[in-house]
């Protein structure tokens, strides 16, 4: 799928956003803010960068994706459904009893979900294990782990970061969704993360900083990360929480709540307007 155009990927990203808003509205709960900030990267991963086969989710040479910020499950489910892992119509069952689409991703329930996540700070360790298995088995697959920025406050991430460097996990790509907001508000007002790039550098990683809503930059960064030779790579993508819906942008309130009846049609209208 590498011949897909930037415009097509941007369109897909906005479709994923629309799904996330619809799903969380139908569920009357969920985490749309961080779903929207991650949407462009998710589109780039599942529709351009990753080597995967939706018809064969356990293909042993597939690239693996671990969503450490598991609360943005809606954007992952939307990407998986649009890619063909399961019917798009299933998305509306998010968070409902009996649905495979649990509030946070569950391995074994959803085709394409590699690991169970939702408790923050654990995905990068899991991704290290997958990447290490790939090295042991002489496989070429990449392991990609998306992290929230607030999540970097969990110490386990830094254990994993040290490990990845020690074990030369050049096949591992971490992506930090740097939207600067956590439930409490500004990450720097909670427990500050900056200087974040320097922290990763000092842990022995390649660091690439991009605008997480610029598709060309996303694709270039992934390409570079995918060709790393000596170190694991982290892409710190500067994003806007709630990106794509004016009143959700940079609004920490939308971290963990769905649109109200009044907000929903406005959000849908704005997002539809972005889709060509």
């Amino acid at each position: 799928m590498s011949d897909i155009t930037v415009a097509e990927l941007e369109n897909i990203a906005n479709r994923l956003r629309l799904h996330a808003v619809e799903m969380t509205y139908a569920a009357r709960s969920g985490h749309p803010g961080g779903s929207l900030s991650a949407a462009d990267m998710m589109a780039a991963l599942y529709f351009s960068f990753m080597n995967h086969d939706p018809k064969n989710p356990s293909w042993e040479d597939r690239d693996r994706f671990v969503l450490s910020k598991g609360h943005v499950a809606p954007i992952l489910y939307a990407a998986l459904a649009e890619a063909g892992y399961f019917p798009v119509d299933d998305l509306i069952t998010l968070r409902k009893m009996g649905s495979k689409l649990q509030g946070h991703p569950v391995r074994g329930k959803v085709p394409g979900v590699e690991m169970s996540t939702g408790s923050l700070g654990q995905g990068l360790s899991m991704a290290c294990g997958i990447a290490l298995a790939g090295k042991m088995d002489g496989k070429e697959y990449k392991t990609i782990c998306m992290l929230g920025d607030g999540e970097m406050q969990e110490g386990q991430n830094w254990e994993a970061a040290m490990f990845a460097r020690q074990y030369g996990l050049t096949n591992l790509i971490a992506i930090v969704d740097r939207n600067r907001l956590q439930i409490t508000g500004d990450t720097e007002g909670a427990v500050g993360l900056e200087p974040l790039p320097e922290k990763w550098k000092s842990f022995g990683w390649n660091v690439i900083i991009i605008d997480g809503h610029n598709m060309r930059q996303i694709l270039e960064a992934l390409d570079k990360a995918g060709n790393a030779k000596t170190r694991p790579t982290v892409i710190i993508m500067k994003t806007v929480k709630g990106k794509g819906v004016s009143f959700m942008e940079n609004n920490a309130g939308f971290h963990g709540r769905a649109c109200t009846d009044e907000e929903y049609p406005r959000a849908v209208e704005e997002l539809r307007g972005l889709i060509q």
Partner: protein, 314 residues
């Protein structure tokens, strides 16, 4: 030879070293304690499938989950306190929930860890691991059973926790003992009281049975080497005969073997029950033998509990 003093962890290491050549999927992990847990025996023969994570137990479990999700059979070891409590939530989400093939094998469990004191004496590990859905909990009675259980767990596809002690202590089973998950064994038949033990306390249970015999009482001794799933069939058959029960574990009486047996008996076959274990308390530094006396984990304590249990029969 039965009765010989051997460390369980040495036999764990021996089993792992053998698995290195017989099972290409086995990966062994440790958190800076390989020399103590004896995973170093595997490391020596199979360094390419040994993963040292440094002093980072939470990371170890996450990596173990990722390895298992990629088809590996993972043994992750460190001391009991750190193998369970330090990374319990990582085990819950990463291993137990998705039923991944990770064996958490802890050494240095129980108060007989001795001089290191309470910070290092795991007395709640079985309780917290037993509470996790999908988790098998095993406490082998001696070195031979630890060896057998390691081999069986390598072939079992799912999460499991195995606890072992630090010290050398007498073996009670034959060297070629067979271990089966969820299957207890009656080591000695009797009709006055059922004594259910696990781990190194099984040897004390057998000694207690000897003492009771000298007083004209016969005890049935059960080695409940799997705490979860509990072998209720063997338990109920025994208490059906004896009419009373004592549980014995080097662990808190809250949440471990004593609790598991109490739950089963209360729900289905109510008989008097006495529980030997630490009584809602932390341990402390001291010589293992002295600590066993202070915390009520001796043969004499079991004998006394057995008599009390017998006296409570209707």
């Amino acid at each position: 030879m039965t009765g010989e003093k051997l460390a369980q962890r040495s036999y764990y290491g021996k089993a792992l070293a053998e698995l290195a050549s017989t099972n290409p999927n086995v990966v062994v992990m440790d958190a800076d304690l390989a020399g103590s847990t004896k995973t170093s025996d595997f490391q020596k023969v199979c360094p390419q499938r040994f993963v040292e994570v440094g002093i980072a137990e939470q990371n170890m479990i996450g990596i173990a989950a990722g390895l298992a999700a990629s088809g590996k059979t993972v043994f992750a070891s460190t001391f009991g306190v750190f193998a369970t409590g330090r990374c319990w939530e990582q085990i819950r989400l990463g291993v137990a929930y998705p039923k991944l093939n990770v064996k958490i094998v802890a050494t240095h469990c129980g108060i007989s860890v001795g001089e290191d004191g309470a910070s290092h004496q795991a007395l709640e590990d079985m309780a917290i691991m037993r509470a996790l859905p999908n988790m098998v909990v095993v406490a082998p009675a001696d070195a031979y059973e630890a060896y057998a259980a390691t081999k069986v767990l390598a072939d079992y596809n799912g999460p499991a926790y195995m606890r072992m002690g630090r010290a050398d202590f007498p073996t009670v089973l034959p060297e070629d003992v067979k271990f089966e998950i969820g299957k207890a064994s009656v080591l000695q038949e009797g009709s006055d009281v059922t004594i259910v033990g696990c781990g190194q306390m099984v040897s004390y249970c057998l000694e207690a049975a000897e003492e009771l015999r000298s007083e004209g009482l016969t005890a049935e001794v059960i080695n409940m080497s799997t705490i979860k799933p509990l072998d209720k069939e063997t338990l109920f058959a025994s208490v059906g005969k004896t009419g009373c029960c004592v549980t014995v574990e080097e662990h808190s009486i809250i949440g471990g073997l004593g609790s598991a047996v109490a739950e089963a008996l209360c729900e289905e076959k109510l008989v008097p029950l006495e529980r030997i274990g630490t009584k809602d308390t932390f341990g402390e530094s001291g010589k293992p033998a002295d600590l066993m006396v202070k915390y009520g984990l001796t043969t004499a304590d079991i004998v006394e509990a057995a008599k009390k249990s017998i006296s409570r029969k209707g």
